[in-house]
């Protein structure tokens, strides 16, 4: 019998209840939620929240192919420190996640690291080339439930329609990176007054919105379920809101950086702020937050995208887009103070677990019998981000030196403490 763990004195946040109690964990499960529990390992959590562990729908773990930037192990550790117990691994690896062999490899590497559940997504098209479908049925038999060409949008409308039809038969979800490529050639930042000044090619909002619109209409005629990755514009939120009102099986995510940072940061010429889709305007941020509050947006996902320093030291046009997210997501979301704690847990755990179809083990209420995938965080603790002290192999965080509010104290994965008092346990 394994040692028991008791989380002492946190506020337990569940869907229908919120109470201060101790949580006892044994053999991978929550066994009791009550006052004055005792266990082999007692973790102080006074003033903290305990909830189901976070689920990231959007993590680039870079393995296989770009281990210089991140490995599944380092990314998993960053995730655990961020309160995550499951990460959906994006498929733009090298080789890409379009074969059972690569899917199995990614999942196995996740198990070896043993810090979070690594849930590999599959490619929609072979090699993410947008030309022919990946073997989605085989991949789905290998356990893939979420398919995406993330990094690329599927440009060909006919192919996307076929993919949705095929996905409906398999009962899987397609996740789209919405970007009409013809409109974003060479684009570095949002098309706005700031890109006018800098003389940089703009990434117009319409390039995202056209594909959101197209795919909503394709969902309407195919009936397949669809998830929109990293929405960034006001009009995208409006389109998704209307589609949900029509009852379409659509979900959507936003990233912490699109909720907190604006396009003007690019005037620093620092490519740490280059990301795809680009940072937008303050008005877009307001619309994204409205979308979070009214349920149009289902999840906050990190789009954690590590890049080695030498790549990010290139000029704005050449540097690869993307920024770290796993270790700062909670602190950014809480610092923005845009919603209640319960909503934060819904957006970072309950809803994404459902979208990733891992709701039987993740995103559960903290009650006796539930799988012990838990996050304990102090919602008031302020801390300053030091890129060199992050667990990620890369340092490209846009929050370097910034003060965030809210930090993960303990993370429990499959009944074992992966993080205690902010320190990774392996």
């Amino acid at each position: 019998m394994s040692q028991s763990i008791v989380i002492k004195g946190a506020t337990v946040v569940n869907r229908e209840s919120q109470q201060v109690a101790d949580v006892k964990i044994e053999n991978g499960f929550v066994v009791e939620v009550a006052k004055n529990l005792k266990g082999d390992l007692q973790l102080d959590a006074s003033g903290c929240i305990v909830s189901s562990g976070f689920v990231d729908l959007h993590a680039h773990l870079r393995e296989p192919g770009k281990e210089e930037a991140e490995t599944i192990e380092t990314g998993s550790r960053a995730g655990a420190l961020g309160g995550y117990t499951a990460l959906v691994a994006m498929p733009n690896t090298d080789p890409p996640q379009d074969s059972v062999a690569v899917i199995d490899f990614v999942r196995e590497q996740g198990k070896r690291a043993g810090l979070v559940d690594v849930v590999p997504s599959g490619c929609i098209t072979l090699g993410r080339q947008g030309e022919s479908l990946a073997p989605m049925a085989e991949l789905s038999l290998a356990g893939v439930t979420l398919f995406t060409d993330d990094g690329n949008g599927v440009q060909d409308a006919a192919l996307m329609r076929r993919a949705l039809e095929y996905a409906r038969g398999l009962g899987v979800t397609l996740a789209q990176h919405c970007e009409v490529a013809e409109l974003t050639k060479g684009a570095v930042m949002n098309e706005c007054s700031c890109c006018t000044d800098l003389g940089l090619p703009g990434w117009p909002a319409i390039a995202e919105e056209l594909m959101v619109f197209r795919d909503i209409e394709l969902v309407r005629i195919t009936g397949a379920s669809m998830h929109f990755l990293h929405l960034s514009t006001k009009r995208s939120v409006e389109l998704v809101r209307a589609a949900k009102r029509d009852g379409l099986p659509i979900t959507a995510e936003v990233t912490p950086h699109h909720l907190s940072l604006t396009q003007e940061l690019l005037a620093s010429y620092d490519s740490v702020y280059k990301v795809n889709p680009p940072l937008r305007s303050a008005e877009d941020i307001r619309a994204l937050k409205d979308g979070l509050r009214d349920g149009t947006i289902d999840a906050i996902a990190t789009d954690h995208a590590p890049h080695p320093r030498r790549d990010k030291e290139m000029s704005l046009d050449l540097a690869p887009p993307g920024m770290l997210g796993l270790e700062t997501a909670l602190g950014v979301v809480l610092a923005e103070g845009m919603c209640e704690i319960r909503d934060v847990v819904a957006l970072m755990s309950w809803n994404p677990a459902k979208i990733a179809r891992i709701g039987s083990t993740h995103g559960l209420d903290v009650v006796a019998g539930a799988n012990a995938n838990l996050c304990v965080f102090d919602p008031e603790l302020t801390w300053s981000v030091d890129p060199d002290r992050l667990a990620s192999k890369s340092t490209n965080t846009p929050y370097a030196g910034k003060t965030l509010r809210g930090r993960v104290r303990h993370t429990i994965f499959k009944g074992t403490a992966t993080v205690i008092d902010g320190q990774a346990q392996k």
Partner: protein, 311 residues
């Protein structure tokens, strides 16, 4: 002043100061031996990642007339092509003992990035479509020389052509406006940036509607690749709408000035020979380039009043 990276950073005082200093340099350039020891012992490295003849030669000539040592970093034969990062390149040259980098690069923001990696001064000789501050200084000096105006208040300047992709336009809009001119941008909407509402300019789409009221007609170069990118249907059509033709020369005010940053696309934006225009300042722009760049180098690297003496 540590760097010259944009007109914005330079500001009005910096701009007028450099224009005044250019007068001194122009005087030196009139001497039988146009050379002074002002920057003896200083080293200026030109770091050109984009083809340039006139700007690079102009800087190197300016440095030599101030007795600075120069080194030229030739990208095509350098280790940049062996995968050396820009940061390593800059650090290596800095270690050799360099006081200033003159940088041209196709990427926006490179002068700012480089200034984090070196203690040397940075002079922006063009970064992407962003800034080309010494060209703007040359143009302001040239207008001032021709009009004897200390301020450009009330002056109407039309900048014609590919504003969207032009670093010359971005620097000149800032410089002309700082000096008080009223700037009009003349271009089809496809060659304008997405949003210029916050710029101190007016916008026109028809050259013929503004040419008669213009004091300075500033023609920009149209690169032929803009056609392939669909910004204009054909060069012929662009030329008809926005090129300087004999007919348009006749529509100019009698004392209007014509300028072009070079190199000219004859038959496209310039359908005539510049010498056909009475007040073309295109040759003065080139001639003043050396004096202006001497002023910039002296301002950044000189130690006060040692402009006198013979080399």
């Amino acid at each position: 002043m540590k760097h010259l990276r944009s007109i914005d950073e330079l500001g009005l005082d910096g701009l007028t100061g450099l224009l005044q200093l250019t007068d001194h340099m122009a005087e030196i350039n009139q001497r039988p031996v146009p050379k002074v020891p002002a920057l003896r012992g200083r080293t200026v490295a030109s770091l050109f990642f984009e083809d340039s003849t006139r700007t690079r030669l102009s800087f190197e000539t300016a440095a030599k007339r101030l007795s600075a040592d120069t080194m030229t970093f030739n990208v095509s034969t350098s280790s940049v092509n062996k995968g050396e990062s820009l940061r390593d390149t800059v650090a290596t040259i800095t270690d050799m003992g360099v006081d200033a980098f003159v940088v041209r690069h196709k990427s926006v923001g490179i002068p700012w990035q480089i200034s984090q990696w070196t203690t040397a001064s940075i002079i922006n000789a063009g970064d992407g479509a962003h800034q080309h501050p010494t060209q703007a200084l040359v143009d302001c000096y040239t207008i001032r020389e021709a009009t004897h105006a200390q301020s450009f208040a009330g002056m109407k300047i039309a900048i014609v052509g590919d504003i969207k992709h032009s670093r010359v336009a971005r620097s000149n809009i800032q410089a002309f406006s700082l000096l008080g001119a009223k700037v009009t941008l003349v271009a089809p909407p496809t060659l304008l940036p997405p949003d210029v509402s916050h710029w101190p300019v007016t916008v026109a789409h028809k050259l013929d509607e503004v040419i008669g009221q213009t004091d300075v007609l500033y023609m920009l170069r149209l690169q032929s690749e803009r056609m392939a990118q669909g910004h204009v249907p054909t060069l012929r059509e662009y030329s008809e709408q926005y090129g300087l033709t004999h007919k348009r020369v006749l529509a100019l005010k009698s004392d209007a000035i014509v300028m072009h940053p070079g190199p000219m696309n004859r038959g496209v934006e310039m359908q005539i020979d510049p010498s056909d225009v009475k007040n073309s300042l295109i040759h003065r722009q080139v001639a003043n380039g050396v004096s202006v760049r001497m002023a910039v180098l002296f301002e950044l690297l000189g130690s006060g009043s040692n402009l006198g003496g013979q080399a």
